[in-house]
Amino acid sequence: MSTAVEFRQVSKRFGKVLANDAVSFAIARGTIHGIIGENGAGKSTLMSILYGYYQADAGDILIHGEVRNIRNSHAAIELGIGMVHQHFMLVEDMTVLDNIMLGMEGGFRLRSQRSRIALELASLCADYGLEIKLDARINTLSVGEQQRVEILKQLYRNANILILDEPTAVLTPQEADALFVILRLFKQQGKTVILITHKLPEILAITDAVTVMRAGGVVAAVETASTNQEDLAYKMVGRSVATELPRQPLSAGVSVLQVDDLCLQNAQGVHLLSAVNFSVQAGEIVAIAGVSGNGQSELLEILAGMRNQPGDKISGNVQIHDTRLNFEKKDPTLAAKLRKLGVSHVPEDRLRDGVIKEFPVWENILLGQQSTQIYLDKKKCVALSDALLAQFEVRPLDSHLRLSQLSGGNQQKIVLAREIAARPTLMLVGQPTRGVDIGTIQRIHTELLALRDAGVAILLVSAELEEIRALADRILVMSGGRITGELSIADYDTTRIGLLMGGLHK
């Protein structure tokens, strides 16, 4: 078998960080090759070098056996390399078709090219079983659909080396499965796939070989068939990672959150939530499972006081402790008022909602907590921040760094640390471990369970069934804006949950 890509002693430095340290390994043609490693291990950087996004400081890259100088993404595309970035590289305001043809228009006049390319894409879609509306605008598409656009884009460009950076982090299990079907088709056609992921089961399920990275270097390169999950986790983190966390028996207390008949209708008249009823008691974790886009995000937004879109109609009754929320008057400061009631919120899209990247870490620790005092005593705030960073093992431990200088996983930890430190009585958590390495996942789970044991009511929204199984006391399943079923952890049953998520209740 010939090699498709080979890295020889590739190094890359960003200021003080050595992101890639003499990386060498080869990827065989016609295989699916996994790359794993902790947050900040250098995976994305390596792939960015391969795609011509960055220039390596040293080392060579061989494509199909030849040393190539990939100066920019254009050169990479010419070599048949395609990349699906973790944060999709799509122009939100443009249509699917325009996004796909961008850079490969084929002529100066778009109109005549559009029809030609549309035909070509239709046949590609048929070949790969993709279903995409070509004239839809990107910002109307779900994440899964957007990813399909990215893949179609690579197909249209006839990429024979396809890089996917954490493609499943934001996908539902069903969407992930659909993706893997396509990737296998790819492989069958002799194309090469490079897959970065934090989910070890995926690695085991689909890849042929795995490279494990740590601190910028390669620590192991193995055939998938010859390894297992524990082994990989050990290689990645450098210590063994417990998969099952110990849990105290449930001791639920008074009702903290009571939701009755909650409905949400958006400006277009679509019912995003219909008659949602449930409650959360102190000391229990209630998880909401569901395919994303079925109302969980909106529910969380409403409960956190963040839903403030023009034209929304919210009705029903939400009670937190003894306070009834009023949705009649749109109040942009509702989120702050809820915090005073003891509500903490880890938002789903933390890097968008939960932090301000330009602010230093210590000021991010204040976000949401800012209205507690008039004068912000910097010394005190920094001391508090330092303590939290130490407690949550954020690296580097420096409250004066700009948040954007931290790695993604560490940014997540800061949001979590802040929300836990607020000593909530009700904690709203959305997708807490999306895009985080397994060591960090374990840490986050431990913290959440500790909160529960301390008597905090926790509402958890997650797309990961594994996570729900590890944490929840009760599971609510949502589909189409309704709660389609409820079961306690004792009755946990993947098939049943799957059916309920599909909206098929008895």
Partner: protein, 362 residues
């Protein structure tokens, strides 16, 4: 971008290099105009910094720019680009003048002056309120509305001054002169060593306002909300910060700063309201805010720089008739270009230099 440079390099060395580059280009122009650049620089510095009185004038000009610079800066902190400081200052002048004309005969100075100051701030704030409100509630772009409001202010003030303010039989489109107890105390009355300059109480106010600005923006919850809303609308919503309120309040404060700028020239030096008395100080405020990176020290330094340019440039054109006063307008532009827009031009070279000197450990 230059995060791998030590602080002294970014805060002192780079600005100095940039200033030097601007000066070099300016020197070229002065040379082409047939004068000696060295001599010209000497005259300028002597006039603006080298004698007490000249320095007083430099500070006097800087005072106005500190206020307009603060006005633009605070809006920028909230992500708003207030181009309307000039119009707000103009209206501030109206507020101040109305109080002065009404009460300068009846009220003692210690009531009159604070009253007039407040009126200036209130009128400036009121003029900024409408663009702020429209941005907050209707989403009308504040850049456009403030530009429009500058034009509208000019028309309105023209009308008011011509129709109501000119004393009968006067030619000059200006109000009558305020009675002497309405004049702001000049600092040379406290400190005679300052010599004969119009530097007045407003300068003290400006310095206080700089401190207050720094304190409010970085050390209060209100400033935090302001900056958060300016950086990320999503995060502001998450934190329960009402962006509409932040926009409106910020524009009010911004307008109040601009309005207060009118004090320096009207109550401190001219003592009457005249047509277009702002002479574009609001626009210089934009440059001051941008170059000073909205930081109190930066605002002070760049306001001072503009003060030096105006004072020194003026004296130079007085002595060298070959150099028209407009040359300094050009040099102002050059300095903004080099120190503001190309501020990082020398960063890579400097960092390479430093790395070579102290090994590769940076």
């Amino acid at each position: 971008m230059n995060s791998d440079l030590p602080r002294w390099a970014t805060n002192v060395a780079l600005p100095m290099l940039n200033l030097l580059s601007a000066m070099l280009v300016a020197a070229g122009v002065i040379y082409l105009l047939g004068e000696s650049p060295i001599e010209a620089l000497g005259i300028m510095l002597r006039s603006a910094l080298g004698n007490v009185e000249g320095f007083g004038y430099t500070l006097f000009y800087a005072t106005t720019f500190i206020f307009t610079g603060l006005s633009v800066s605070i809006a920028m902190q909230a992500g708003l680009f207030n181009i309307g400081s000039d119009g707000q200052m103009y209206l501030g002048g109206l507020g101040l003048t109305l109080v002065m004309l009404q009460f300068d005969a009846s009220l003692p100075a210690w009531i009159l002056i604070p009253l007039a100051m407040s009126a200036a701030a209130v009128f400036g704030a009121a003029w900024a309120f409408i663009p702020g409100y429209l941005q907050a509630k209707r989403g009308s772009h504040v850049v456009v509305t403030t530009i429009m409001f500058n034009f509208i202010a000019a028309s309105l003030m023209n009308f008011i001054i011509i129709t109501y303010m000119i004393p009968v039989g006067e030619q000059n489109p200006a109000s009558r002169v305020f009675a002497e107890n309405a004049w702001l105390p000049r600092l040379n009355s406290l400190l005679p060593a300052l010599g004969d300059t119009p530097l007045n109480l407003t300068f003290i106010c400006a310095v206080i306002c700089l401190f207050a600005y720094g304190l409010i923006v970085w050390r209060t919850r209100w400033g935090y909300a302001l900056r958060a809303a300016g950086k990320s609308a999503h995060a502001a919503q998450y934190a329960g910060i009402s962006i509409a309120t932040v926009i409106i309040v910020t524009m009010l404060v911004s307008g109040a700063f601009a309005g207060a700028a009118a004090m320096n020239s009207l109550a401190g030096s001219m003592h009457y309201l005249s047509l277009n008395f702002t002479s574009g100080a609001g626009f210089i405020g934009i440059a001051v805010a941008l170059m000073g990176r909205q930081h109190p020290v930066g605002i002070f330094m760049s306001a001072l720089l503009f003060g030096i340019l105006i004072q020194g440039g003026f004296d130079l054109s007085l002595e060298k008739s070959n150099i028209p006063a407009e040359t300094f307008v050009f040099i102002q532009g050059l300095i903004i270009l080099f120190c503001g827009a190309m501020e990082n031009m020398y960063a890579p070279a400097l960092s390479r230099l430093l790395n070579r000197k102290w090994g590769n450990n940076v």
